[in-house]
Amino acid sequence: MIDVKNLTVRFGGVVALNQLTLKITDDVVGLIGPNGAGKTTLTNALSGFVTVASGSASVNGLNLIDMAPHQRSRWGLARSFQKVQIVSDLTVEDHLATVLDAKGANRSLRDKAIVRALDYAGILSVRRVRGVDLNPFQRRLTEIAKCLVGAPRVILLDEPGGGLSETEMKELRKVILGIHPEFGAQILLVDHDVELIRDVCTSTAVLDFGKLIAYGPTAEVLEDEVVKAAYLGRMGAAND
């Protein structure tokens, strides 16, 4: 359970998150909102990449705000980035190994964990391929697989669907849908692809100007007039 209370983040004069209070209990939760609403800022605040001005955030009862980013990760908070982060000269399996290194995972179980995550993400065949030689979709999946090793408790995904074609999107959907049953982690998913959100998230939160403007079961939220006006526009309606 992710519990955010009165969270405020400022960048100079910009208030990116404004006294945000949000309790996330479902297994797969969507986070949407107009550009600049503060979605990335919220994931950054949870994972420790921005300085929080005030408020608190806890996951499964553990107060996160005072922990260093790497400690949060070791505890089990995994995340992906809006802009894919793949190291050119590390192989796919090395990417996963770093996570296990940091968690001090048992050596004998390491290979098994890596194979399991790669197999699940469907990229086992490229396990020894270096970062440079991966195509964009494989990079995406590597990043997701990286979130899956080492027994994650919470996974934050920031626009994993950005730039993917529709067929790839289908595959990604399957991958995300299976994460909770397979790995048991809670997922917070940020994306602008409303179809993806609709298909995988049981509930969805909507941010605008750093404030929560709607939160509830996904279907209801996507019908909300305020959300339609601020975020979905005609297109969201047309897709109904």
Partner: protein
């Protein structure tokens, strides 16, 4: 691919071991001294490579760290009766600690800024060395007296220049091997991740501060050992050996040699010390050496990012492959 590479490594290792025994036999006194220096600075260059190749960090203060290692060794030599090798390791460790402390302000920095911080460090140490000089057996903390240097102890097994060269080759090979092991294990992976993006590394649970300091410590350790070895080779040190511009030069040569393989560091050391000595011996002006270094650096940066070592190794790999296919 991996097999050819490791086979190359093996072949080169054999060459090096042979060098340890053969070189001192074929060189005359001058070249023994020169090669000793070259290997020592090659070791220092290997420290630069660790930071640059693994973390993408530019260290323009390596020569200053070499000076610190040398200072500690001289100080211990005059103040205690410790055997050379123990003083040497102590110098390495103290330099490693100082290096990682110096890294502290640099931890939130990368790229150009870090390069500049280290350049400022080099500038500051140049002045400190000049103001306080190197210990020569005097009293007090700085251990400097207006007198000729006191008695210096080399390792018992390496009293002569010839056996000292063997000692240096062995120590350098050991240190470089330690760095090589780092590259292939946990720290190597962590460094690669940090190099790409610190945020990403933290998100993977990597303690960025710790691993950066570790890299600085390792690089500093190699510099410190190099400094101790240099003190042992010359039996005294002079502030003019540790000027900031030489730190810049050594960095440049490390790039020219190639930072992705230890062979590159060795080449850097040879370029730094052997080439000028050769030119000096042929009566070529030292100024032209600089021109050649500069042109080599530009050439390496523009066309051979893996340096001379990279070119040699790929040529070598090509050769091995060629032979394999023609034998089949």
């Amino acid at each position: 691919m991996i097999q050819t590479l490791s086979r190359n490594n093996l072949i080169i290792l054999v060459v090096i071991v042979a060098a340890i025994w053969l070189l001192p036999l074929v060189l005359n006194s001058l070249w023994i001294k020169v090669v000793t220096s070259a290997v020592i600075f090659g070791l220092a260059a290997a420290g630069i490579s660790v930071l640059f190749a693994q973390l993408g960090l530019i260290n323009l203060s390596q020569i200053a760290l070499v000076g610190i290692g040398g200072w500690v060794l001289l100080r211990l030599n005059y103040a205690t009766g410790l055997p050379f090798t123990i003083s040497l390791v102590a110098g390495g460790i103290i330099t490693a600690i100082i290096s990682s402390i110096l890294a502290l302000p640099a931890l939130r920095m990368r790229g150009l800024y870090l390069a500049l911080v280290t350049l400022m460090t080099a500038g500051a140490f140049q002045i400190i060395f000049n103001a306080f000089q190197f210990p020569n057996g005097g009293e007090g903390f700085w251990g400097v007296a207006q007198q000729s240097a006191g008695a210096f102890r080399r390792p018992l097994i390496a009293q002569s220049d010839v056996s000292y060269l063997r000692y240096v080759l062995t120590v350098a090979a050991l240190c470089i091997a330690v760095a090589g092991v780092h590259r292939l294990t946990t720290p190597g992976r962590a460094w690669a991740m940090i190099r790409q993006s610190e945020a990403n590394a933290m998100a993977a649970g990597i303690d960025v501060t710790f691993f950066k300091m570790w890299a600085f410590a390792l690089s500093g350790f190699m510099a410190g050992i190099a400094g101790g070895l240099l003190a042992g080779a010359l039996q005294q040190l002079d502030a003019r050996t540790f000027v900031a511009s030489d730190s810049i030069l050594l960095f440049a040569l490390a790039i020219v040699g190639g930072v992705y393989h230890w062979l590159g560091a060795l080449i850097a050391g040879l370029l730094f010390k052997l080439l000028p000595a050769l030119f000096n011996d042929f009566g070529v002006s030292a100024d032209l050496t600089l021109v050649i270094f500069g042109a080599a650096l530009l050439h390496a940066i523009m066309t051979a990012p893996r340096g001379i070592a990279g070119q040699i190794l790929s040529g070598f790999a090509g050769l091995v492959k060629h032979r394999e296919t023609s034998h089949d």
